[in-house]
């Protein structure tokens, strides 16, 4: 999903681990609403939220979120 200010691969990373949005929300200890809005590019995550998501997916922040070219 591409937001005008941030590209994100959250859905792909989640699918790689075969997790639902609710599963990822539980792992990252955030709400499912947060996962949904970040995936859809509606909400740009804060630093700590990005770190929580990366830790929950066992990857790095940079592999999930990138600046647009």
């Amino acid at each position: 999903m591409t937001h005008s200010r941030l590209k994100n691969r959250l859905r792909e990373e989640r699918a790689r681990l075969d997790l639902t949005q609710a599963d990822l929300a539980v792992k990252a200890e955030v709400s499912r609403k947060t996962i949904n809005t970040v995936e859809n590019g509606v909400f740009i995550p804060s630093t700590d939220l990005a770190l929580k998501l990366a830790r929950a997916l066992g990857t790095t922040v940079e592999s999930i979120f990138q600046l647009p070219d």
């Binding site: 539980v26 200890e29 955030v30 709400s31 609403k33 995936e39 939220l49």
Partner: protein, 151 residues
């Protein structure tokens, strides 16, 4: 698992909050715009109209506080933090920002309105508060519903 249940409960409560708030703001706007309980009429500024004005201000303030109450006071702190997470706090900011601009535009409109129609300061305030609070709450509800919509 405990965390699983908390996330599910927070999801449900967050949706419920948006629905209840939408109902409340529709009722609020309905009363304000259709019944207009403080507007001057043959009775002038009667004690009843003054009391209505106070009640409406209290209700408007309570509605604004609802979107700041962290998921209700009856839930555990962890659930409240999930209900009032980054996304909801951002929605709150956007809603309040929008309400501010509506209030400013409303105030400027009210400034020029006496050229066309006379009204009291209370009625002017009533218009501004109704427009700003209504807009803020509707925007908050819209943003929350959008966030809950499945992709």
């Amino acid at each position: 698992m405990e965390t699983n249940r908390m996330v599910e409960k927070a999801d449900v409560m967050s949706r419920r909050r948006a629905v209840l708030l939408l109902v409340a703001v529709v009722v609020f706007l309905g009363v304000q715009l259709l019944i207009r309980p403080i507007h001057s009429g043959p009775g002038g500024e009667s004690p009843q109209r003054l009391l209505n004005g106070w009640a409406i201000n209290v209700i408007a303030l309570m509605l604004l506080l609802v979107i700041r109450l962290q998921g209700g006071l009856l839930n555990r702190r962890e659930i409240r933090n999930l209900i009032n997470d980054d996304v909801s706090r951002e929605h709150h900011r956007e809603a309040i920002n929008g309400g501010f601009w509506v209030a400013m535009i409303g105030a400027m409109t009210v400034f020029f309105l006496p050229a066309f129609k006379s009204y009291t300061a209370r009625e002017g305030s009533y218009l501004i508060v109704t427009a700003a609070v209504g807009f803020s709450l509707l925007k908050f509800c819209y943003l929350e519903f959008r966030a809950h919509r499945d992709s």
